[in-house]
């Protein structure tokens, strides 16, 4: 870095600074929805600028999908194509839930980088950054889900019902939206983004593996089977599986939605409280 030989960096132009300072009208405050959508737009921009964040978590399930299908398919279900039919809805769930961890990571990044300070010192609706980010993240869920479905189709997956696939993506995204509020709480409690990522995955891994995503729980030891049966991830997977096959019962669909509402009702206000209190 040899400063003297470098061309002069661009400078602020004082006359223009003066005119920029003088020429500001104060527009009327935007509505709450408009504020949230602006933060949602910010989330979209982040997908554009940091696509790797979405790719990382999407590629892992894709890898799992391919590996598990061909590695265990024969052993677990007797044929790879049968296992793919069984596994894909669960992979959809896993992939989308993993993405939701990043809600906490992004919020923590905002806090540690000082961006939250700016938003909180502005005359905007306090929860708007949280709600807007959650909206933006929902787009990520849908993108991740679409990736998994496409890979599944390439591998030979045969959806029983297309409206069912659509409904499965929707219910998974709704559940992830609710779950993400746990991660935002973690994001506001822990100190560094990396710690949030680790804590999030540490919590999510047992839930994902000790579920009915990979294997039929009937083959498991009793204690494990009991856990799998109360695990909300299993309930979500059952719903997604049933919807995609076109044979879900009302209760199967309603159960994860009720659980999602429960998560949201507890953790969204908790996030808002922690967020308001600042650091």
């Amino acid at each position: 870095m040899s400063a003297p030989t470098r061309s002069r960096p661009p400078e602020p132009v004082l006359e223009e600074v003066y005119s920029a300072l003088a020429s500001t009208p104060r527009p009327p405050r935007p509505g709450l929805l408009s504020q949230c959508l602006t933060f949602g737009w910010r989330g979209m921009l982040k997908i554009k600028h940091v696509p790797e964040q979405l790719l990382d978590v999407t590629l892992t399930p894709v890898l799992f999908l391919v590996m598990f299908t061909y590695l265990f398919g024969g052993a677990v279900e007797g044929s790879t194509s049968d296992y793919l039919q069984y596994l894909l809805p669960g992979m959809l769930v896993q992939s989308v839930l993993f993405v939701s961890v990043y809600s906490g990571v992004s919020l923590n990044t905002d806090v540690t980088k000082g961006v939250t300070d700016r938003f909180q010192s502005m005359p905007i609706w306090r929860p708007a950054p949280l709600i807007g980010a959650a909206l933006g993240d929902s787009v990520r869920y849908v993108v991740a889900a679409i990736v998994v479905v496409i890979v599944g189709l390439v591998l030979g997956f045969d959806p029983g019902s297309w409206p069912g696939v659509f409904a499965a993506v929707l219910i998974t995204a709704v559940f992830a939206f609710a779950l993400s509020w746990i991660f935002t709480v973690i994001g506001l409690v822990l100190r560094a983004p990396q710690a949030v990522l680790n804590a999030g995955f540490l919590g999510l891994f047992p839930l994902v593996f000790l579920s009915n995503i990979f294997v039929d729980p009937e083959t498991l030891p009793a204690v494990l089977e009991a856990f799998v049966h109360v695990n909300p991830v299993s309930h979500l997977t059952t719903a997604a599986r049933g919807l995609i096959a076109g044979e879900a019962s009302t209760w199967e669909v309603a159960r994860p939605l009720v659980e999602a509402i429960g998560l949201f009702v507890i953790f969204a206000p908790l996030t808002a409280r922690l967020y308001r209190r600042g650091s």
């Binding site: 960096p9 527009p27 921009l45 940091v50 000082g114 700016r118 010192s121 502005m122």
Partner: protein
């Protein structure tokens, strides 16, 4: 727009804030006149940032009260937020977005229509010398560019009060001067600036009044000159053209300034403690009238460093680790 011009821009009484067992701010009083730069000077950990965060409504004080532009920071926080801007210690911009996107985001949140937000962003980018970097992600900006963008984001709507927390920490001298120019421009437009800094020359350069803060308390307050004067007098330094006249010069100065001259190691130089500039000028005039020619003379004031040392018993420079070489 600036209606209540006689009122104080910021008025704080007994602000107090603890984090666990640590008392960060221990009863701070401030009275900041409108349209000025008010410096809050202190070393790291003195409580500057906590004070500014309370005034900017980011933290609730444990005790005490403050009004910003006549609005209570606790009960009228939203009204306060409508008139202030905060430029925090960390450049509070989104590193993943481009400079232009950052400004559009802020403008949209403040109610600019889409096209107006873009126009405003471009206007500010041009004014702050960031047009070429507009489409680059902020993570690729230099420290000075990032700080300018940060300030630009704070003036998307010109604030009535701007909180600047260590705006030049870590910047090279050139970028620092640019930030100083911007601050002066802000004040010239009528904005009140509360400037937290640990750089003594920064407060001296910009602020019309300074509060010195240490361990969460204001330990001195006044104009930079008053602070210096309260610590002790300065000195008149004189260097003669003819060293042979030094004895005579010393005798004359002792008479007119009523203080013991100090003979420097330079055989033509001497210095005398002096309280005010007027008497020093008279003394110089007497020397000239007596036929003693001067090579140069200066009236040295104690530096703010010395002020801080005298007030606190320790220097403010304990955190002077990352000075960027010019």
């Amino acid at each position: 727009m600036k209606t209540m011009s006689t009122e104080l821009a910021i008025q704080a009484e007994g602000l107090r804030k603890s984090f666990g067992d640590t008392c960060a701010v221990d009863g701070v009083d401030l009275a900041v006149p409108r349209g000025t730069v008010y410096g809050v000077l202190g070393p790291n950990g003195a409580g500057k940032t906590t004070t500014i965060r309370m005034l900017a409504t980011l933290l609730r004080p444990d005790a005490g009260a403050a009004r910003v532009l006549g609005r209570d920071i606790a009960s009228e926080a939203d009204a306060v937020r409508a008139h202030v801007s905060l430029t925090g210690q960390l450049a509070s911009v989104d590193e993943d977005l481009t400079g232009r996107e950052n400004l559009i985001l802020i403008a949209r949140l403040l109610g600019f229509a889409r096209a107006d937000a873009k126009a405003r962003a471009d206007e500010l980018l041009a004014a702050f010398g960031l047009s070429d970097a507009a489409a680059r992600q902020v993570k690729n900006y230099s420290g000075g560019m990032r700080r300018r963008l940060d300030i630009a984001a704070s003036i998307v709507v010109t604030p009535d009060v701007m909180f600047l927390d260590e705006p030049t920490t870590g910047l090279d001298p050139r970028s620092r001067n640019q930030v100083w120019d911007i601050v002066r421009a802000l004040v010239a437009q009528g904005t009140t600036v509360l400037l937290c800094t640990q750089y003594l020359d920064e407060a001296d350069q910009l602020a019309s009044r300074i509060a010195v803060i240490d361990h969460g308390r204001v330990i001195a307050e006044g104009t930079p000159a008053q602070l210096k004067a309260s610590v002790g007098s300065g000195a008149l330094h004189v260097r003669l053209l003819d060293a042979a006249q030094r004895e005579e010069a010393a005798r004359l100065l002792q008479g007119s300034l009523d203080a013991q001259p100090h003979l420097e190691s330079d055989p033509a130089a001497l210095s005398v403690p002096v309280a005010d500039a007027a008497r020093a000028t008279e003394a110089i005039a007497e020397l000239t009238a007596a036929g003693i020619a001067l090579a140069d003379f200066s009236l040295g004031q104690p530096s703010l460093d010395e002020v801080f040392l005298a007030l606190t018993g320790h220097t403010a420079e304990e955190a002077a680790e990352e000075e960027v070489p010019a």
